[in-house]
């Protein structure tokens, strides 16, 4: 099943958080959501769609992301991050939403709070 051209979405409840984060640190909402996706994936923060507080809000589509950021479908396949019967896009949506929740919980959109990341990914904040 080809996934190209399929919309990438997240829980619209975190729209405001995404916009704040985007305004402060990024040039596009896609960059913002890719950052949220990376946090969700790294910290395995996945919010199942069933638990979303809002509707699905599109932030890009898989083909555009593949062209600019890489093939997350292959990446997921290769890392064997798979849930039986769940398309990669949906899995990505749940990771993005999980990442946005982390941003909200830790007020990363406010000046001076990015250091919180060090508490969760300490290996990335030290030079060996």
């Amino acid at each position: 099943m080809s996934e190209e051209g399929i919309d990438l979405v997240f829980d619209s409840h975190y729209r405001e958080i995404r916009d704040k984060m985007n305004e402060k640190y990024f040039d596009s909402v896609t960059d913002t959501c890719i950052f949220a996706l990376s946090i969700g994936m790294r910290l395995n923060l996945r919010i199942p769609k069933a638990e979303w507080k809002g509707s699905s809000l599109s932030w890009s589509d898989l083909e555009r992301v593949k062209n600019r950021y890489g093939g997350f479908s292959e990446f997921f396949d290769y890392l064997e991050i798979k849930v039986e019967g769940m398309p990669t896009t949906e899995l990505m949506a749940e990771f993005v939403t999980g990442g946005l929740k982390f941003i909200e919980d830790n007020y990363l959109y406010e000046d001076g709070n990015l250091g919180v990341l060090a508490n969760h990914m300490s290996d990335l904040f030290h030079t060996d």
């Binding site: 640190y25 950052f35 990376s38 600019r68 950021y69 292959e74 990446f75 990015l114 990335l124 904040f125």
Partner: protein, 680 residues
């Protein structure tokens, strides 16, 4: 003074020592009846003697009765019988109360020598005792009784107003005739109303004022010896005074300019703060601009880091995916290589079965036997199976797969391992920059508060004003300096003139001038007070005397009263509004009136002792006199003769007013006997 008891010894007609007159404590007034020559006047004179030590002669008030019979032909004070018997001891003793005290006064003369008859006054010794009967301190006797009596009881000169003898009426008749006013009597009246205190005061101070004025004049003349010096002194004093006033005015103006200058300087100091603030704002704004640039740059850096942060975050997972792919590719290459080796081994084994030379070295090989051929064929079979298995396995990943995966992971991959330490550092720097920005904004706000509108224009005006004010101030300082020099010069000149005289005189002259002014003021005060006081007393005596006169006179319906003139001469005012001197009887009534009024107005407490009260008075007038005096005076002792008041009638009519009455009679020739009639 209230007389309580009188004792007489060998006193005139009173022979011996048992003659006593007691006076009631509740009603101290009394009547002593007696025919002429029976001893009434002697009784009256006993009081005068006890108090003053001598007895005035009737008709000759400036002469005194002799003590003993050989001194003159007049009746002596010492009883003649006693004298003739050689007893020259005579005495009068009075017990009296005065101002809540009780006293005993003894005036006694007795012979100096026991072996010699006293024939003249120098042969007698005076025993004078004034004893305070209530004094328990042991010092009961007054050291100087005469002075004490004059000062505390009644001066002798004024006794005529209390010890009254109608037979001596001529002593008072001057009162009726303004042409014959006896200076001494007038003085006595002045004394009794106590105006001399004020008069003397005025006189003393007037004399003192004159003396101080003369001294001042003398001092003044001595100190300022010539008119030229005085004039120059005056000129210099005035010039210095004028200069000082002008200087004071200039100093006032100077102070005003200094105040203005201070005010401007204060304002400019505040304005300097504004200027400083303005510079600060400029500096802060520059810092803010720089700070904003740094923040912006820092934010850009952060954005840049954040844009790629996802790759760093996922780098381990991406690397893991890449490594997995590389492992698969390596395994595939190994399998392909093995497949080639297996193909060569199969070919070699088949050449061996066929007996062909070694394809690598060309060496001949021996012909395999059957067993060997079976083994070789089994080995070839196994190799082919392995080859087939490897060939199946090595089909994946296909080149297409590898390409896809590589393409998928390439954008995610980082050339080498990265971290987010720069993110942390940048954010710390951003926080610092933001804090700096906040601080700068606070400082900017504070500085901006200090600056108002149009400050520069105001500062320029203030500076211009200040310069103008300072110019005015300097000009004034110069002027004042010049004026001070002038004053100093004139002061030096003045000192040269006055140093030897004026300075020395100043204190003394000021004292003399002050003393002169003070004494003049006091003299004027006493004089003014004297006139007021004297007139008040004159009116008081006039009113009181008029009342008494109308009360005593039996013809009061024809009279308005008495007029007492400024010189204390007296006229009777009748209702036809003319004045007359009155008859002899009226003169006596008038004398009673004036004397009683004077006695009452004087405030002196002394008994009225009236001898032969009715000379020339009719019965009605006389009764009025008795009634008036007995009713209105604290103590009156009447000494009437048998024609003036019959003892029986007297006791019956006036007994209610008196505590005691006495009747004098004669025994054994010329000796007086005292008979007590009404006893307390």
């Amino acid at each position: 003074m209230i007389i309580e008891k009188i004792s007489l010894r060998n006193w005139q007609g009173y022979y011996g020592s048992k003659h006593e007159f007691l006076f009631g404590s509740e009603k101290p007034s009394s009547i002593v009846y007696g025919k002429n020559t029976f001893g009434k006047t002697a009784f009256w004179e006993a009081i005068e003697f006890a108090l003053y030590g001598r007895v005035r002669k009737r008709k000759q008030p400036n002469k005194f009765k002799p003590f003993m019979s050989n001194q003159s032909s007049d009746k002596p004070l010492l009883n003649t019988d006693a004298y003739n018997e050689g007893n020259s001891d005579f005495a009068v003793e009075i017990f009296f109360s005065h101002e809540e005290g009780h006293y005993r006064l003894l005036r006694r003369y007795h012979p100096k020598f026991t072996n010699k008859k006293a024939e003249k006054l120098s042969d007698l010794i005076l025993q004078l005792e004034l004893e305070n009967l209530q004094d328990d301190t042991g010092d009961r006797f007054e050291k100087n009784p005469n002075r004490w009596i004059n000062e505390n009881i009644l001066p002798e000169r004024l006794s005529k107003f209390f010890l009254f003898d109608a037979e001596r009426l001529e002593e008072y008749e001057e009162l009726m005739d303004s042409d014959r006013v006896d200076v001494r009597l007038k003085e006595d009246i002045e004394n009794i109303i106590r105006s001399p205190i004020l008069k003397n005061g005025a006189h003393v101070f007037k004399n003192l004022a004159n003396r101080y004025y003369r001294d001042y004049d003398s001092e003044y003349a001595q100190n300022l010896k010539n008119q030229k010096e005085r004039k120059r002194h005056q000129e210099l004093t005035e010039e210095i005074e004028s200069l000082k006033k002008a200087r004071t005015e200039l100093e006032r103006q100077l102070k005003s300019w200094k105040d203005k200058i201070n005010s401007k300087q204060n304002w400019l100091e505040e304005n300097d703060k504004s200027k400083e603030a303005s510079l600060q704002i400029k500096h802060i704004k520059a810092e803010l601009t720089s700070n904003e640039g740094n923040i912006s740059s820092c934010r850009d850096d952060l954005k840049s880091i954040m844009t790629n942060a996802w790759r760093v975050i996922l780098q381990d997972q991406v690397n893991s995916a890449n490594q997995k792919l590389e492992k698969e590719i390596l395994l595939q290459e190994k399998m392909t290589k093995r497949i080639g080796v297996i193909e060569e081994e199969i070919r070699d084994k088949m050449d061996e079965i066929a007996g062909k030379p070694c394809s690598h070295c060309g060496a001949k090989r021996h012909e395999p036997d059957d067993n060997e051929r079976v083994t070789l064929r089994n080995s070839i079979s196994n190799l082919k199976e392995e080859q087939k298995e490897l060939t199946d396995k090595s089909k994946f990943p296909t080149n297409d797969d590898i390409w896809k995966v590589r393409n998928a992971l390439r954008p995610m991959s980082l050339p080498e391992r990265a971290n987010l330490e720069s993110l942390s550092n940048k954010e710390k720097r951003l926080s610092g920059l933001l804090k700096t920005k906040f601080d700068l904004n606070s400082r900017l706000e504070d500085a901006e508060k200090l600056i108002g509108e149009d400050k520069d224009r105001d500062i320029q005006k203030a500076l211009s004003d200040l310069k103008s004010y300072q110019g005015n101030r300097d000009e004034l300082i110069d002027k004042i300096g010049g004026m001070k020099a002038k004053i100093a010069g004139k002061s030096d000149e003045l000192k040269g003139i006055t140093l030897s005289s004026t300075e020395k005189k100043s204190v003394k002259m000021e004292r003399l001038q002050f003393a002169d002014q003070l004494c003049t003021t006091l003299s004027d005060l006493f004089t003014g007070t004297l006139e007021t006081y004297r007139e008040k007393m004159r009116k008081g005596v006039e009113q009181r005397a008029s009342e008494i006169f109308l009360s005593i006179s039996n013809n009061s319906e024809n009279y308005e009263g008495l007029r007492i003139n400024d010189d204390f001469t007296v006229n009777i005012l009748n209702k036809k509004d003319y004045m007359d001197a009155g008859s002899g009887a009226q003169s006596l009534v008038m004398a009673y009136s004036v004397i009683d009024a004077l006695a009452q107005c004087s405030g002196i407490e002394f008994p009225m002792v009236i001898d032969t009260p009715g000379r020339g008075l009719g019965v009605e007038n006389l009764n009025n006199v008795y009634n008036h005096f007995l009713k209105n005076n604290p103590q009156v002792i009447f000494l009437p003769n048998d024609l003036e008041l019959d003892p029986e009638h007297g006791d019956k009519t006036f007994g209610k007013f008196v505590g005691t009455t006495y009747e004098l009679s004669k025994v054994e020739g010329d000796r007086t006997k005292v008979i007590s009639r009404i006893k307390e």
